[in-house]
Symmetry: C2
Amino acid sequence: MNAGEGAHSYVRNSSYQSGVVDVAKPIIEEEIATKLDINTLQNRFCIADFGCSTGYNSFPAIEIITQAINKKYKSPENTSKTLEFYVFFNDVITNDFNTLFTSLPPHINYHAAAVPGHFHGRLLPEYSLHFAYSSWSLQWLSALPEAVADVGSPAWNKGEILYTRDRKLVCDAYLDQFEKDIGLFLESRTVEMVSGGLMVLLVPAVPDFWNPESEYTVTWDISYLLGSCLVDMAKKGRFSEAKVDSFNLPYYFPTPEQLKAILSKNQSFTIERFEIRDNPGKHTLASVNARAAFLRAVNERLVTDHFGSEIIDELFELYMEKLEASPVFLNPDNDKTIVILVVLKRKLI
Amino acid sequence: MNAGEGAHSYVRNSSYQSGVVDVAKPIIEEEIATKLDINTLQNRFCIADFGCSTGYNSFPAIEIITQAINKKYKSPENTSKTLEFYVFFNDVITNDFNTLFTSLPPHINYHAAAVPGHFHGRLLPEYSLHFAYSSWSLQWLSALPEAVADVGSPAWNKGEILYTRDRKLVCDAYLDQFEKDIGLFLESRTVEMVSGGLMVLLVPAVPDFWNPESEYTVTWDISYLLGSCLVDMAKKGRFSEAKVDSFNLPYYFPTPEQLKAILSKNQSFTIERFEIRDNPGKHTLASVNARAAFLRAVNERLVTDHFGSEIIDELFELYMEKLEASPVFLNPDNDKTIVILVVLKRKLI
């Protein structure tokens, strides 16, 4: 994610992702009220957000969670109880935690800490975490599936930058990696979470079927439009075609069926809820500029690390031209990207 | 502290502070071996560094601490035991934690987290901390003593930017604030530390007597040389004299006697060691440039917040001229600044 608070920053270009917290609010409140089931002798609650970026979309979620826990554990008979909240903001080690800290809302009711590192591995002490949250982050893979960049493999993803439905082997390689990564994420949280603790996951996803003639998803937008811009630039000689062949984006948006199958394999959590929602944030990207800024904030570092920073402005100018010429992508109602809201509960040990 | 890794950064100008970890090493090792006395059923050790800045001087200390704990708890009879270390790096919320995270040594044997906020208050969960460390940080006050900036007070510090021995009321106001702050620091750690946990404090200090004709301390350098540069600039009309009158630096270097008296008042810790050491880092500041760069890395933000950033280059050029003309300050052997090494143990509850 782009750092800081400038024109291309994640902070100023993450409205697409931010709407999901409103969708999740009543569910988080209800699940905490009815199912959070932990030993509260110490009056201490540890909450973690896995994939917090610079915090802009994280802070409202943390507020909802702490208020719901306060409501439950500070009942009218028990108003004197002071709950202590410790919130661990996690993202990769190069994340802009300075911006996160200086953006913390005033008068927060929790102690904040940053925990850098990949959320597929262990980050927190054993049996220390009461509530885990992750929004619009689990699509990130820990690594690219090797086969897609391997010229000798039948899953070689020549001329494309992300999986597309018409290349089944590429799709399968991405799905395998996604399954492995979700497995590692849950294994790590299994050790870190206390019995009876809750986990809320908001995972961007795609429906089993959508019509590419009249509809799209975020991943299709990236494969089809952004990918073809890179191919065009290679043809113009900006860089070699092999450079495009070796570039693949490290994220995967599952279908609901795929995600459910993966989650069901884990033995340490029960699936309390699994709900599919439309993404309300899509209506914030109705202009060419807004849609380009959203994609740039998320992908800029990956693109410039591979192609160099000198190509980025041209790439997104070209992208905007193509977007303008593709009216299907400019109507937010055609965006069939969905969000899966999952609530997991750590089984009693 | 100046952020980043540039020419004026703390990273590149903190050799003066860095020598103390070598002084502390054998003492930390011995104290952990003989006195760390905690329930290790969980095999989890939490360590915190209060006032870590960008980590440059913190990482070697953490390595010493984790190695000593490993040596003690992974005895020959018990080599299979895997210890988990969680290290909490603390500094103020505007500290450059991004640089700290990206500077972490490779292959560290601990999980790192950043905990922003003033160390005079609570930062960590109750009974969670096994080892506390703080080097060259406790001299920072939580606030300026009010009287020194109050025109109506007999402790008004007109025309000076730090206490000097010849203004007893100003000194007393600074000492009062220092005592209050150390008290708050220890109260917070009392709640956070487990019984039998250890705390190592390296506190910059000044001897009870030194001769200003032939010797100096860091605080005297700042009061006498840097302060007089600001007075000269006010006389030249760069800013008003009132601007200098209202500027006071928020740190205090105690004498050993003062620090011991303050620590002895606390009922929750026993003083296991209290040792006075020369500061080996002073020999790294033998040139005008090195000494100016050291003072600038520490004081730049405070100066520019008050006077504006446009005066900073002129100020340090003037400082270097004065330093050049004051040979006493250029011989590191004349630097009588000392370091007090304190080991405290949390009493059994």
